[in-house]
């Protein structure tokens, strides 16, 4: 197999600014198939900026660098094209769309993807069955499916909803931006189980988090520490445990 075929995401020398502030400074990151990467780091170090830039949020200006996704030039693609190719962003603050039911929204998303892939619309009963079993898996009540997208959801419900969407869309790469923030222990376990169930040899996950707790459930292959818009250290779960005890100061000072 060509080595390129094994790479899901390759970020080279990426610099990004927003509102005139330089946030990412020459970032490099490669994610291979089947890998789980965790990104940690102090507030303002550029973690969410990375997530939004990869997803194509219009507020982020790329000043240099390249991103390849599934061996294609990601930066030339529209936001929905990236999604349809298999990129999923779990939002830190999921957006409310009042009146539009969760079901209708997901149906539109799945059929947009299928249209992009030249597949027929998913039959309604197949879709509903899959949706119900996914909701069950995440401990979400059926009534949840007919409620407006994130409308009046609790913090935990919003995050579970993101994971439900992820499982339904079956992405190649999921970037979960602080999916664990605001979750109680039980919700976190449910979310972790959901993420673990989606892991496969073909798909990869990037988890942005402040806490080792979620990582203890997910056991990432790599843990990266962000500072000033680039990676200053890479390790494994032990590094996350160390950070939990010592904070970031020692790394930053060493730097």
């Amino acid at each position: 197999m060509n080595i390129e075929d094994n790479i899901i995401l390759k970020i080279s020398d990426l610099s990004v600014s927003t509102d005139g502030n330089q946030i990412l400074n020459g970032l490099n990151l490669t994610v291979k198939k089947g890998e789980t990467h965790a990104i940690m780091g102090p507030n303002g170090s550029g973690k969410s900026t990375l997530a939004k830039t990869v997803a194509g949020h219009p507020d982020y200006l790329i000043t240099s660098g390249k991103i390849r996704f599934l061996n294609k030039d990601l930066l030339s693609m529209s936001v929905n094209e990236r999604s349809n190719l298999g990129l999923f962003l779990g939002f830190q603050y999921p957006i409310e769309i009042p009146g539009l039911s969760n079901t209708a929204f997901l149906k539109a998303a799945i059929n947009a993807q299928r249209k992009f892939l030249d597949l027929k619309v998913m039959p309604a009963n197949e879709f509903l069955l899959q949706l119900k079993s996914t909701a069950d898996q995440l401990g979400l009540d059926q009534s949840f499916l007919s409620r407006g997208v994130n409308e009046g959801f609790s913090g935990g419900e919003k995050k579970r909803n993101e994971i439900m969407q992820m499982l339904m869309l079956n992405p190649k790469l999921s970037i979960l931006d602080e999916t664990d923030s605001g979750l109680d222990i039980d919700s976190m376990k449910v979310v972790a189980r959901g993420v673990n169930s989606s892991r496969s040899e073909d798909s990869s996950t990037i988890i942005i988090t402040h806490y080792e707790r979620l990582l203890n459930y997910l056991v990432p292959d790599y843990v990266h520490v962000f500072f000033n818009g680039k990676i200053i250290k890479t390790g494994n779960l032990e590094l996350a445990n160390e950070l939990e005890k010592k904070g970031y100061e020692w790394l930053v000072q060493k730097k």
């Binding site: 529209s78 957006i95 769309i97 539109a108």
Partner: protein, 482 residues
Amino acid sequence: MSTQQNKEINEFLDKNYEFGFTTEIESETLPPGINEDVIRIISSKKNEPEFLLNWRLKAFAYWKTLKTPDWSQLNINPIDYQSISYFSQPKQSNAPKSLDEVDPKLLETYEKLGIPLHERAQLAGVAVDAVFDSVSVVTTFKDKLAEAGVIFCSFSEAVQDHPQLIKKYLGKVVPYRDNFFAALNAAVFSDGTFVYIPKGVRCPMELSTYFRINEAKTGQFERTLIIADEDSYVSYLEGCTAPMRDENQLHAAVVELITLNNAEIKYSTVQNWYPGDEQGKGGIYNFVTKRGDCRGNNSKISWTQIETGSAITWKYPSCILRGDNSKGEFHSIALTNNLQQADTGTKMIHLGKNTKSKIISKGISAKKSQNTYRGLVSMAKGASDSRNYTQCDSLLIGNKSGAHTFPSINVKNSTSVLEHEATTSKISDEQLFYCQQRGIDEEDAIGLIVSGFCKEVLRELPMEFAVEARALLQVNLEGAIG
């Protein structure tokens, strides 16, 4: 952006008003202008009884004393009433007795509009009256309805076949003295739809009328009169389209509904008259008076309207809640794009005891359009223990559109309760980004967000039309984000 995507977007933006074609059909059209002779000609062409001609002439005499009203929030080019033709009908020697006798070109026109008039090809359970310019060309399922005792026919036929009903009810809810356009309509109305549901009958199918303006330089002035006798029920839907023309065309209709004891009328409108082009050239002036009289105790009238077309929409479907315990509802979606203007809302006039009304208004404004909700809730001294709930939401798309709200409340007793809620929101960039991140393109995302915003109203539509209405909202939002 890929070339494929570019192509798709261009095709999307180039997609114009779908119903803008004209039908090449020989018409008999009166020369432009309005005077007593014109009214006499219209009346005699329709072989009307004298009481009707006299009523028209009185309306005309009154109209001449009026000035075009200017209290609305609208910018209207002056209308030259002498340059409009007040009557146009497809040339056909005799009134068709059955579908086989209808000019195939007419049938083709309605096919193109997605309204097949062949009964076998029809949506199950929907009877249609098709009005082309000034006349009704065909009404389907008449026999089946007649079995149930339901009268569903063109207004002209009703004048011939049921003059006693016309005499009893015409102009009783919207008198010709009501307003400028109601007076004009009374003077020159040419056709429309008549429905009578007898006592104790639940109409066995949905009734609908499709209005089509075809001829240039004509106006359309139709009247609809629906009477639901005691303990009866009917659901009625009207749809409207017109060709694309550079000039503004006037549509001044009157709709009167009457419910007797325990009767219910559900009246739905999907209005998609030609809205004019992006520069605001052409389009229909839609100046309509619609009113229902809940005359009987425990009766109910509900209006549902999806207003997406017309250069200018000016209408306030209203309810007079005369009977005790009667109910009035108004569910409205008004969508304006480009340079469209809409000034719409309702009046709920509570007269009877323990009457209830509900108003749900959803205004969506895109590009440089202006959208106004104007409403009146009035509770008379005798309307004790009455209730009203009003919810008035506006959604703005882009930075150049406008939403305006003018609610009036007038309560003359101390036992009634009113609630009024209003919101104004914008489709946010974050909502669009969220949808797009889930793979949905921008246009579809706007459509989804708007349909969510309109949910409470869309679910009021009969099933067959809810899908059509959603599609219509989507089409009319094309290019809304420029």
